[in-house]
């Protein structure tokens, strides 16, 4: 922006520089204060808290005091089989659910971008509707559709000889994956569709004239061109699934297949509920760090690939 300025502009700016700096400060301050208070300070405080532990003088009913513990809570987390299991579980979940969801979203976006699709507007809205539904409500709806006592799904499936148990320990993770996919596939589809709409048609007119089919145009021209949108949806999906909480927490009310430490976030919540605040702080910081590293890493890798 500064490069386009004329010489006179620069002179007026020089004389009024202090005034502008002060104005910038006043405009930024209303955001900066709550940003520091609710984004930066909590992390700093949680970090300080995570370096402590409760020590009781004179037996387990003695007076509780916080004492310096170094990395004790982090060491404890990495040796806590429940927490480690929750991390592994969420990693599995991400590896399967994210590609499936993004593939569904991509296929639908590409289909809606073809000429042959009818009722395009209606389909687009219908697919996007679940995103407007709060996670708790989505999980409740699916809970009733999974619950064999209520579900028209299990009823219908049993008439054709299938007897699915959506809530068994071996299936529940994928039942949760279905709820998450259902809620967010439409959102991702709209992001990809918006990117597809931004591609100038000239780019594939020539290919069409040369006789390339829709499938080839989609795979060789459209998909590579919307890579930034694909990266963006992948990053936000990773952040989202690592935080998995609402869906399993709601489904827990109708099945015993989900433990109180089923996901890392649930483990942290569980520790906080037990007033084990230092441990809860350590767990949520580990989780925040893992999700930051993964999403930032993916962003860095893919943007570097583009420059090369």
């Amino acid at each position: 922006m500064t490069t386009t300025e004329t010489r006179t502009d620069r002179r007026t700016r020089h004389t009024s520089g202090t005034r502008h700096r002060r104005a910038a400060l006043w405009f930024l301050l209303p955001f900066a204060v709550p940003f520091v208070a609710f984004y930066v300070l909590p992390v700093v405080y949680a970090f300080a808290q995570s370096l402590q532990r409760i020590s009781r003088g004179g037996g387990s009913y003695g007076k509780a005091t916080s004492v310096w513990a170094g990395l004790f809570q982090y060491d404890r987390a990495l040796h806590d089989p429940d927490f480690v299991a929750s991390l592994v579980r969420v990693a599995w979940f991400s590896l399967i659910q994210i590609p499936v969801m993004l593939l569904v979203a991509l296929v639908l976006a590409l289909l809606l971008d073809t000429q042959t699709a009818r009722l395009r507007r209606f389909h687009r809205l219908a697919i996007f509707v679940p995103y407007a539904i709060p996670g708790v409500i989505a999980a409740l709806m699916w809970a009733y559709l999974y619950d064999p006592r209520l579900s028209p799904l299990t009823q219908a499936m049993s008439t054709i000889g299938l007897d699915p148990d959506f809530l068994s320990p071996s299936h529940i993770l994928w039942s949760i994956a279905n709820v998450v996919t259902w809620t967010y596939a439409g959102y991702n589809m709209v992001v990809m569709y918006a990117a597809l709409q931004a591609i100038p048609t000239e780019l594939y007119e020539a290919a069409a004239v040369d006789g390339a089919g829709e499938l080839r145009i989609a795979l060789q021209i459209k998909v590579p061109l919307i890579k930034p949108a694909l990266v963006l949806t992948a990053v936000f999906s990773i952040i989202g699934t690592l935080q998995l909480f609402t869906e399993p927490q709601v489904l827990r009310t109708i099945t015993t297949s989900i433990t109180s430490t089923y996901t890392p976030n649930m483990a942290a919540f569980n520790a906080a509920s037990a007033n084990d605040y230092s441990y809860a702080a350590a767990l949520s910081l580990i989780l925040a760090a893992v999700s930051f590293v993964f999403s930032f890493g993916l962003l860095r890798r893919t943007t570097r690939g583009e420059q090369a």
Binding site: P134, Q197, A272
Partner: protein
């Protein structure tokens, strides 16, 4: 997209796999998958408790929606009305304040050149990668220390910060507010605040609607933050309220129909708002995809 572009696209020959029939069948199946649970909710909310269990789930049986609604609103001294009202306070208040803060911060980052500007902007962008749920527990620990939990403020205050909103407002200000206009206003003697209030805020108003909408929905859908902050059920937003009923379901099976009707009532206004304001959320989504 406009019509001539469509016409030109038609020239692409359809391949063996992408036949018109296949395209439309796949789209229909997808739409069915995404709408069926919503349809189930609409149907279920009109049923009695016995019909909910015994009749076929995907069709109506002895509709009694009015009766169900009356029971919902009467339950526990109108607690559901209170929850809806709380959700409106949290979402409306948080999104309104958040939009104002995003607008001023985004404007400052777009218009004024000062040392450290890109650093500040980078910090704000980086924080988009730190999810709100990861911050909720640390915020709770801090608030507990200060004795601020279990109050309206404990949910409202952390919700007003929207790094994505700042990003969107900065990008939009750069594109929509001409520098010459600001310089001209300065020459005419207008103060910086007046320039922002009377000129810039009007030019960026479409972005402000988008920021408001996204934040409103984000706060409305938030579950983790109110769950850890609030103990008093009179302060619950509607999502947490319905969850608390669901948790009591095994003790009080009568709540089942209330949860179903309550879910329907809390979802319908949100879907309506979304559909009626769709050009604004689309603007936000495409801005997001440009960034990466």
């Amino acid at each position: 997209m406009n019509a001539p572009e469509h016409a030109r696209r038609q020239e692409g020959t359809t391949s063996r796999f992408v036949t018109p029939a296949a395209v439309n069948v796949v789209l229909l199946i997808a739409t069915l998958y995404f709408l069926l649970p919503v349809f189930w909710l609409l149907v279920a909310s009109t049923k009695s408790r016995t019909d909910l269990v015994s009749s076929f789930g995907f069709w109506f049986a002895n509709p009694q929606l009015i009766e169900n609604l009356r029971a919902l609103f009467a339950e526990q001294d109108h607690v559901f009305v209170q929850w809806m009202l709380n959700s409106v306070i949290y979402s409306g208040g948080g999104a309104l304040l958040g939009t104002v803060l995003s607008a001023t911060a985004g404007y400052a980052l777009a218009v004024y050149a000062f040392r450290g500007r890109e650093l500040v902007f980078g910090l704000i962008l980086g924080s988009v990668l730190v999810p709100a749920t990861a911050l909720a527990l640390p915020t709770f620990l801090l608030f507990a220390q200060l004795g601020l939990t279990n109050s309206y403020w404990s949910v409202l205050l952390p919700s007003i910060v929207s790094p994505f909103g700042v990003y969107l407002c900065r990008v939009y200000t750069t594109a929509a507010v001409p520098r010459e206009l600001i310089e001209a206003a300065r020459v005419d003697g207008a103060g910086e605040l007046r320039i922002f209030l009377t000129i810039a805020s009007r030019l960026i108003s479409p972005a402000l609607v988008t920021v408001f909408l996204f934040q409103f929905v984000g706060i409305w859908n938030n579950f983790y933050l109110p769950l850890i902050m609030l103990q008093d059920d009179r302060l619950y937003p509607v999502t947490l309220g319905l969850f608390s009923w669901q948790s009591q379901l095994s003790r009080d099976p009568q709540l089942l129909i209330l949860i179903v009707v309550g879910s329907m009532v809390s979802v319908v206004p949100l879907i309506m708002t979304f559909l009626s304001l769709q050009r604004y959320w689309r603007a936000g989504l495409s801005a997001g995809s440009v960034r990466a």
